[in-house]
């Protein structure tokens, strides 16, 4: 779809989409992943990762500013020319498709573990596919509204995490930086993966109505994600000692399990069921990126058909391969390199190419 007046998004929708793309299912196991490398000081690595990602986002925005109305496919077309642009689009499609897959399959695995162990994964993904199809097909406009709405509607979630605080021990966090900076810096790479989602700017930026606030929006979105992660990590560290937390697969879920009310016993089940709203933001944005790019690859105006193709592909692969936890974790690890390339290398390379082209153009003219 062209970027018309009718699918413009506001600043808050922009923030909500970027933040939503970043927060997926990683948040549940994040405290354990950090603790494995950095111990109780791991939360500092989140702050460092935030700074790094914000820098990467700045570079990305510098590039995108030169193409204010072009989502990724047309941007590549302008840099590389039509044929080569389509070729260059292919790895991006694979990238976004794989990330959408990761988020969806991880969510499916969580649901299987906590709610429906005997139901086949294929069926659960089919369930997810229905609202995802509706969301992706309607494009950035509805995704923006949905993301914004969920941002407000689920803002109460972090508050509930404060309930077990009185049983916690602040002393678990002290002393700060007890083993020095080395373990903290070592775990930054791991933490960076949790901030994946920034590259969705390639698709979101052109729709933003007031582009002068794009930079501010990106920083705010990143900060929201960082605050959320830090909050959750610190709370988990307060509640569980380090020696235990490295043995728990999903510390956040265990934290939720402790919450008990008189009228509602297993609050974690309700919480996770509602968390599906939050995660659906993430995989739909990736799905949109993939479907839209696929659509442009085959020169279609309307990417509805491609949405069906993408979802069907996921369904078929899930049906055939029946992914397990371990496979999913290994796949995620494999994607880390891809992710780092996308976040750091690609914007720089593209920016450089644009500058070179401009330089040649000027030389040709003058």
């Amino acid at each position: 779809m062209k970027v018309t007046r009718l699918n413009e998004i506001t600043l808050i929708q922009y923030i909500a989409i970027v933040h939503g793309a970043q927060v997926g299912t990683g948040i549940f196991s994040l405290p354990k992943d950090i603790a494995l490398n950095a111990g109780a000081d791991g939360w500092i690595s989140i702050l460092i990762a935030w700074a790094v990602i914000t820098l990467a986002g700045c570079v990305m925005l510098l590039l995108l500013r030169k193409f204010p109305d072009d989502p990724l496919p047309s941007l590549l077309g302008k840099i590389f020319g039509r044929r080569l642009g389509k070729l260059a689009l292919l790895p991006f499609i694979v990238y976004f498709g794989c990330f959408g897959w990761i988020v969806m399959v991880n969510s499916m695995l969580y649901i299987k573990a906590w709610f429906l162990p005997k139901t086949s994964g294929f069926l659960i993904i089919l369930l997810f596919a229905v609202p995802t199809f509706m969301l992706v097909r309607n494009g950035m406009r509805v995704i923006g509204r949905y993301a914004e709405f969920i941002l407000y509607a689920m803002a109460w979630m972090p508050v509930f995490l404060l309930f077990p605080l009185s049983d916690g021990h602040w002393t678990n966090l002290l002393p700060i930086l007890k083993d020095g900076w080395t373990p903290v810096l070592g775990s930054v790479r791991e933490t960076l993966f949790a901030f994946t989602g920034m590259e969705i700017l390639f698709f979101v930026y052109p729709h933003l109505k007031r582009k002068q606030y794009a930079f501010h929006g990106m920083v705010i979105a990143n900060t929201l994600t960082m605050l959320l992660y830090t909050f959750v990590t610190i709370l988990c560290y307060i509640q569980f000692p380090q020696d235990e937390i490295i043995q728990i697969n999903q510390p956040l879920m265990h934290l939720l399990k402790i919450i008990e009310f008189r009228f509602l016993e297993r609050f974690d089940m309700i919480f996770f069921a509602l968390y599906l709203f939050v995660v659906s933001r993430s995989w739909s944005v990736y799905g949109f990126a993939t479907a839209y790019s696929l659509g442009r690859l085959f020169n279609r105006e309307n990417h509805t058909g491609m949405t069906v193709v993408y979802l069907l592909a996921i369904l078929v692969i899930v049906f055939v391969s029946q992914p397990t936890w371990n496979q999913s974790v290994r796949f995620g690890d494999g994607m880390t390199i891809f992710n780092e390339w996308m976040l750091f290398v690609v914007p720089v390379v593209l920016l450089a190419l644009v500058q070179i082209k401009a330089l040649f153009g000027r030389r040709a003219q003058g």
Binding site: A113, P117, T119, L123, L127, D167, T171, P175, P241, E244
Partner: protein, 371 residues
Amino acid sequence: MKRGLCYLALLLALLPAGCMDRMDIENISLALIIGLDLDDNNNLEVSISSPVFSREAKRKTEVYTAKSLTMRASQDEFDKTFKAFTSGGKSQILLIGKKLMMQKHWFALLDPLLRDPKNSTTARIVLVDGPVSEVIHYNPLDKPRLPIYLTYLIDTASHLNLATRTTLQELHSINLDKGITASIAELRFDDKIFIKGSALLSENGIYKLSIGDEETRLLRMLQGEKSGEFKFTLEHEGAAPGNGIVPRNLYTISAVKYSRRLKTGYAQDHFTFDFHFHIRVSLLEKLFPFDVLKSGDVLEAEIARKLEDKFRSLIQKFQQAKIDPIGLGRFARAYRYNEWKPVENKWSATLSDADINVKVDVLIAAMGSIR
């Protein structure tokens, strides 16, 4: 039109396939109480007490004990006789026999309860001084169902600080945490169920010693637990014991509010811990004449002294038994990390060499309506 048909086909495909996880509520046998014990030949015995929903049944609970190797293996035995599918999703109480708790690695038997995400980890762990089967078969006429009764009993006792309350999750945390050892509630069966106090576990998670209700209160205060009641009955030195039938030198106080300050230090090759308590006390009973208004400070000083003695003897008990239920290791780790790191794996032994001081300041806030 074509799309509509596609959607319809999709929906129809969903319908029969989705019901596999359904477990209707009346078809579940909830294992509300799980009991683990060793019999005379040191075989594992697993007992389950589960409520019965059928109107036609006369008794409201069904109990069964099975011998098996592990907990999960025992589930088959239960399914052979129970009316419905057994499920651990709502376990309230875990009763562990003392014999079992003295075995190394007994906690590993509870692994399935922690591993299955559908299980509840807020079940309270209780040590039974005696055979578990006596407790689990107890079915009095004047009380509600055993699981409900026991849950309320434990929770109330914990609130009154007669016993500590530890859930499965907390025990798992504490066992892994190198800076603290566990304390759980203890009960015994003597025609009725009585709370005995708290049972303290060693570093390895096996049973070490028991403490009574007064000592539990002291332990809670040392841990910094603010909620609940803290009642102490003390002997007044200035009064004679009386004729032996009515004790004329006793008085009872309740700590209404207190603050605990703990300083962690390291001097001369061992750790030092200095506790400083400020306690506001109200007088609950006084069996001898004493003018509290005039000579209140004398009483306050005496209460402070007596409490300090009690704290000291309890701490000595801990140090001799090489356990750390107070959690001093956490403070050592937080404030003296460099000295903690080398000894973190043998903390309890290190603690027995530590220097622990307690100072108490008491203020009588209220004495009641009579002098």
